[in-house]
């Protein structure tokens, strides 16, 4: 039986890597991928607790989180595509003015 703390530690490490990615990345698509990494780390925490408390609510919540992440990915990538169309760049540092 793998202890709960191991799963929580892995989840913390993945979440931290995601946060570091969001802070240092300049490519907006990779930045978005780091956000998805953070969401997955949280999913792991929820499922681990669901197993160790014997409670199904954790897994039901993970289902909802996945659906929300899917919707967010679709809309986010559409925004990125129109951002690319308007500014010809995917670098977030260059998208710092509201005016084109």
């Amino acid at each position: 039986m793998v202890p709960l703390s191991w799963y929580l530690a892995l989840s913390a490490v993945l979440f931290t890597i995601g946060v570091v990615g969001v802070v240092i990345q300049r490519n907006v698509i990779v930045l978005f991928m780091c956000v998805e990494l953070m969401l997955n780390a949280v999913n792991l925490t929820l499922v681990a607790f669901s197993r160790f408390l014997g409670d199904l609510n954790g897994q039901l919540f993970v289902f909802i989180v996945m659906a929300v992440a899917a919707a967010e990915a679709a809309v986010g990538l559409a925004i990125i595509i129109s951002l690319f169309r308007n500014r010809e760049t995917l670098n977030v540092d260059e998208a710092d003015l509201l005016k084109l």
């Binding site: 793998v2 709960l4 300049r26 792991l44 909802i64 967010e72």
Partner: protein, 202 residues
């Protein structure tokens, strides 16, 4: 040390290496592949946590649909490797290092307190009613359509909103809008309206 511990350590190490790959690679395609590897490792870890349905849904939805979307967008927008980034505030990493060690120490101290024994989960193939075993499709269906039916319906409305929003945002603009964008970018003489569109045409 049992085989399950070795399995966990192997999968966790692969997930962490792939996650570092996501943030450190120059080419966005390699970052996307790294994220796919992380998702598959997490699905395997969900299987060790008796979450069969969530593991299958993770692969189908996350690795099989969302990441395909990401990979398509990267390929269609023809995203190249980025040039090296300049480091503007070099002193920050000297503050970040010790803070990171302190945070790790705190996490290690807290995590030792949560190890409680876990309840036993029945094998769904050996009992008569699989909906009493944690993590099976029947049990999730039972919970989803009794306690969580309102979030379920709200999620379907959310996905509908996402479909409409994505279709509207990614449509081609009218000619007037294209001309305005072209002018604002300091248009290149007699260029065709928005050559960026060629990247998105399949």
């Amino acid at each position: 040390m049992e085989i399950i511990h070795l399995l966990f350590l192997g999968l966790a190490a692969l997930a962490v290496v792939a996650a570092f790959n996501v943030i450190l690679q120059r080419n966005p395609i390699y970052s996307a592949i790294g994220l796919i590897v992380v998702l598959c490792c997490l699905a395997a870890l969900f299987l060790t946590l008796h979450a069969q349905f969530i593991a299958a849904i993770q692969i189908i939805v996350y690795a099989g649909a969302i990441m395909v979307l990401f990979v398509f967008v990267i390929m269609l927008l023809n995203v190249r490797e980025e040039e090296s980034r300049g480091d503007r505030q070099k002193y920050l990493k000297w503050i970040a290092g010790p803070l990171f060690i302190a945070l790790l120490a705190e996490i290690a101290a807290v995590l030792r307190l949560v190890d409680t024994p876990a309840p036993a989960i029945a094998n769904p193939n050996q009992i008569a009613d699989p909906s009493t075993s944690l993590g099976t499709v029947e049990s999730i269906a039972h919970g989803m359509f009794t306690d969580y039916v309102l979030p379920f319906e709200a999620t379907s409305v959310l996905i509908l909103m996402a479909i409409v929003g994505a279709m509207y945002l990614a449509r081609r603009g009218s000619q007037a809008e294209m001309d305005r964008i072209e002018k604002a970018l300091g248009g290149q003489g007699e260029a065709e309206p928005s050559t960026a569109d060629d990247h998105v045409a399949v």
